[in-house]
């Protein structure tokens, strides 16, 4: 077995991931193209009165959320650099990541809306204050919620990147040197750590931006309606029964994706141009700028508290059929929602099974690729993965559905598995690529020079040292799989039901306790996965 692993050619290592992931993905996107060629669709698009305003809104909320999340991450990381709180930060970030977006949106919404908890605490009275919080016309509450929800993701990506640097102790030494040259901890972080960190954050930031601009469920709960974000307009159009309207939705998807790609390219280009100017600031001389520990703790605490509040509110909402303004406590408690949830045991097990399997398989495919392919080929795969995450799910899933329909895979478990594998593998690849490639191969050479068989060395040295990123990637893959609704719904084609499918269909009826109960149920397994990953991934010594 060890010998076969060693003798795998690059072609053999690449084949599984290409067959199971890359090809179906590319084919799915191609399946959409004929629909875009409908002239009727483009005519309808041009006459849609909300197209441009919705587009601007999407870009503003996505961009604003990314910038805000980045600023908060920088603040937290700079403030807590080299502090003993870092592992706790990682655990908290993992918990934040595990919370499904919709769950957070509902809880956060209930916190800030005019009939929400904050209003009840501050204003009271018999009628709710005319606050413009959720569904505000500028998308600010959506932006804030997005930024808060993406903060853990950026933190984990940054911590993973920093961990590799620190693995060899180099960054610590560099910090020492910089301090000896007269730079305060804050200046050291901004001038020495951050510039080396930013390249690793490039793609996570792109993902955050694209997600923010294309998210549907959070926009439905918190975003404005006239106009809504373009993602919501697309969602309505793609959900329509009329095929021409569907085509218009696809055309809009093309517009949105092109604009996003253009913006990302432009930003990267602009950064290339302006960064040299910043060099001057880099070497302007020592600055005693201290680490913003206080602000970091405050920011982190507020973000953490908001997430915690969202979860607690969800728990309360799940047992409260009615909670009218201005009551501070729920007037009556009933577990009807949880009883209904109990009857959804089969979908829960199916979701768990799919999540575990896709995470493991994705991990296997990724490892197989990284072990057998030269690093240069990575960008094709990562590019494809980013493209997957950049397109609205409904569009990719729609193409995938047509492909699977032709192949007879709809309504089958293998088809459902493949549909879940698509986004999971994308995330696993993106998360794992950096840390895996940065692994110092000399460790393996050292092990093998000790006459240790290659597979043993691989397991006990490489995989062992890479435990944290591998487990994190697996946990993220697991969480992503648990949250999949659109691909699952399309490919299941009415034959299977997963937990998110049950949750969304029931939430369509507006039953808040039920929605909250399902949201919590959807949050629990990923949370457990992340906890397991952070516990098992802890380094043996600090």
């Amino acid at each position: 077995m060890a010998r076969t692993l060693r003798r795998l050619t690059p072609a053999q290592g690449a084949l599984p991931i290409i067959v199971l992931w890359a090809l179906p993905l590319a084919a799915s996107v191609l399946m959409l193209l004929p629909a875009i060629a409908e002239p009727d669709a483009w005519r309808q698009l041009q006459s849609h009165p909300q197209l441009w305003s919705a587009l601007v809104l999407s870009l503003a909320t996505g961009g604003g959320a990314s910038v805000l999340a980045l600023l908060m991450s920088v603040l937290v990381l700079a403030g807590l650099d080299r502090s003993r709180a870092l592992p706790q930060l990682q655990a908290l970030a993992a918990a934040g990541l595990a919370l499904p977006h919709l769950a957070f949106a509902i809880g956060f919404g209930f916190l800030i809306m005019p009939t929400g908890l904050i209003a009840r605490l501050i204003e009271g009275g018999t009628t709710p204050p005319p606050w413009v919080t959720v569904q505000d016309p500028w998308g600010l509450s959506l932006m804030l919620a997005l930024a808060l929800k993406e903060l853990p993701f950026l933190l984990i990506a940054a911590l993973a990147a920093l961990a590799r640097g620190d693995g060899t102790g180099r960054l610590t030494q560099e910090r020492r040197v910089a301090a000896s040259l007269g730079h305060g901890a804050g200046s050291v972080w901004l001038r020495v750590v951050l510039p080396q960190l930013l390249p690793s954050l490039r793609w996570p930031l792109v993902i955050v931006f694209v997600y923010g601009a294309t998210v549907v469920d959070m926009a439905l709960v918190l975003g404005p309606t006239q106009p809504p974000t373009l993602a919501v307009v697309i969602w309505h159009a793609l959900n329509h029964a009329d095929a021409t309207v569907n085509g218009m939705g696809l055309a809009m998807t093309l517009v949105l994706t092109s604009v996003l790609a253009a913006l990302v390219a432009t930003t990267l280009l602009l950064l290339q141009v302006t960064l040299p100017r910043l060099r001057h600031w880099l070497c302007a001389g020592p600055s005693l700028l201290a680490a913003p520990r206080g602000m970091a703790v405050v920011t982190g605490t507020i973000a953490g508290l908001l997430m915690l509040a969202a979860i607690l509110l969800l728990a309360l909402l799940s047992v409260t059929p009615r909670w009218p303004y201005p009551a501070l406590m729920p007037p009556a408690v009933t577990f009807a929602a949880w009883t209904t949830l109990g009857s959804s045991a089969a979908p829960l097990w199916l979701s768990l099974l799919l999540a575990a399997m896709t995470a493991l398989v994705a991990l296997g495919l990724a490892l197989l690729w990284f072990e057998t392919q030269p690093e240069g080929r990575d960008r094709w795969l990562i590019g494809l993965a980013l493209a997957t995450l950049a397109l609205p799910q409904l569009a990719v899933a729609g193409g995938q559905y047509r492909l699977f329909l032709g192949l007879g895979l709809t309504g089958t478990l293998p088809g459902l598995f493949l549909a879940h594998l698509t986004p999971v593998a994308a995330y696993v690849l993106i998360i794992l690529q950096g840390p895996y490639r940065a692994f110092d191969s000399r460790y393996m050479m050292a092990a093998r020079s000790l006459s240790v068989p290659a597979s043993t060395a691989w397991l006990q040295v490489k995989l062992s040292l890479l435990r944290a990123p591998v487990l994190t990637a697996a946990a993220i893959g697991f969480a992503v799989s648990m949250a999949q609704f659109v691909p699952a719904q399309l490919i299941a084609a009415g034959r299977y039901s997963t937990l998110p499918m049950e949750a969304v269909t029931l939430s369509a009826g507006g039953n808040r306790p039920l929605t909250a109960a399902f949201a919590l149920c959807l949050a629990a397994p990923p949370l457990a996965a992340f906890l397991a990953a952070s516990l098992l991934g802890r380094p043996r010594w600090r």
Partner: protein, 402 residues
């Protein structure tokens, strides 16, 4: 309601009526054919694609499944949908790809039905051959044969009635507005507490249709196909009304809730004064589950509110057509209809004519009032012709959308 604009469908209906009027021999043959269908249906599985947003409705469908299993050895699988359009797209895609159907029975009406019918994706006609169809109140409830001014042509079998209904907390709103002008007055006296969902949510579109019906000069235009010019003319009073209404609405009419479900939640939380729904018994249901207080009142506008029927239909590529027909027939049975109309179970009004039922069957239909039920039902205004809807939505979007 046979109107002059329906000549092309009259012939079809006429044909069906002709068939129904064949002498007893024909009847007997029809009876044998039905027995054959029931026999073939044994052991089949029906995938019933139905909106599953309400646990009560889901529980009712589960009961239907049990009954079918016991009596006809049919397995009913409830495929839960968040939106019927999912199933429409799926049927279309499957037929295009030449695949067998994943759906055998669809809970459907309106636009979704029109699309499937136009693209010839439905099996049938079958509805009027169902034995229990004879009990349907086609005279008193014309919408059982005309779906959004589109003839069902036997391609869908009626299941229940829907009618636009408003509701509120009676403690906060003792005298509800019984017309659109009265609603405007209420909005003026309580600014920011009234709203409606934004189109293309169909509740929002229905609210606008109601306003249209109440403000337009000539209501006879509604069941008829309309073009853009005529629409702009006819909708002038509607938009005058909405222009007057919007500044008094929640968020000054600049933002609207995304869905009716969200509106209901805002009403329950106390942000809004009035909610709306298409199921006249939804307010009573919500009181029963504790979502709304027991002081909730429900009403329909004095002059009538938009109402329609919802149906079940069979996709053309279904592999369990016989069982689907047996299911549709069972759904029309007095037993199933009575249980459906029971406020404690679902509360969806029946499509059957009480006069056509036996006294025992009639007794099954208890009409117990419950907190939140409509005390004074108003007549149902039939849905306008399908061509109105895209024009309404586009015009609304144009004026208020961006």
């Amino acid at each position: 309601m046979e109107t002059t604009g329906m000549t092309f469908t009259l012939t079809r209906r006429g044909l069906i009526q002709l068939l129904a009027a064949t002498p007893l021999a024909g009847r007997a043959r029809a009876g044998e054919a039905w027995d054959g269908i029931v026999a073939e249906a044994r052991g089949q599985t029906v995938y019933f694609n139905a909106w599953a947003g309400s646990p009560q409705i889901n529980a009712y469908i589960a009961w239907v499944g049990e009954a079918l299993q016991r009596r006809h050895d049919i397995t009913l699988e409830h495929v839960k949908l968040a939106d019927t359009a999912e199933a429409v797209r799926r049927v279309r895609d499957e037929v295009t790809a030449g695949r067998a159907g994943s759906a055998d029975l669809l809970w459907i009406n309106g636009e979704n039905f029109r699309v499937l019918k136009a693209e010839k994706l439905l099996f049938g006609p079958f509805a009027e051959d169902l034995p229990n169809f004879a009990l349907v109140d086609v005279a008193g409830k014309p919408t059982t044969r005309i779906d959004f001014a589109e003839a069902t042509a036997g391609l869908e079998s009626p299941w229940g009635m829907a009618q636009l209904t408003f509701f509120a907390d009676g403690a906060k709103l003792p005298t509800p507005p019984l017309s659109m002008p009265e609603l405007l007055e209420l909005a003026r006296s309580a600014p920011g507490r009234i709203t409606y969902p934004a189109p293309p949510d169909f509740h929002g579109t229905t609210f606008i249709k109601q306003a249209l019906a109440e403000t337009m000069a000539d209501r006879a235009l509604l069941p008829v196909q309309i073009g853009r010019q005529a629409f702009t003319e006819a909708a002038k009073p509607l938009f005058e009304f909405l222009d007057a209404l919007h500044p008094e609405l929640w968020r000054n009419g600049k933002q609207f809730p995304q869905t009716q479900a969200q509106m209901t939640q805002m009403l329950a939380d106390g942000e809004l004064l009035v909610g709306l729904t298409f199921n006249p018994n939804e307010p009573a249901n919500l009181v029963a589950t504790g979502t709304l207080p027991s002081s909730t009142i429900a009403w329909q506008n004095r002059g009538g509110t938009i109402g329609n029927t919802h149906f079940v239909a069979i996709p053309i590529n279904s592999t369990a057509r016989q069982a689907a027909q047996v299911t549709a027939n069972f759904l029309l049975s007095p037993e199933a209809q009575a249980r459906k109309a029971d406020l404690a179970i679902w509360g969806d009004p029946t499509v059957l004519d009480m006069a056509k039922l036996t006294p025992e069957d009639r007794a099954l239909f208890t009409s117990a009032a419950a907190p939140g039920s409509v005390t004074q039902p108003a007549p149902a205004i039939p849905e306008p012709h399908g061509s109105w809807v895209p024009l309404i939505e586009a015009a609304w979007l144009e004026r208020y959308g961006a």
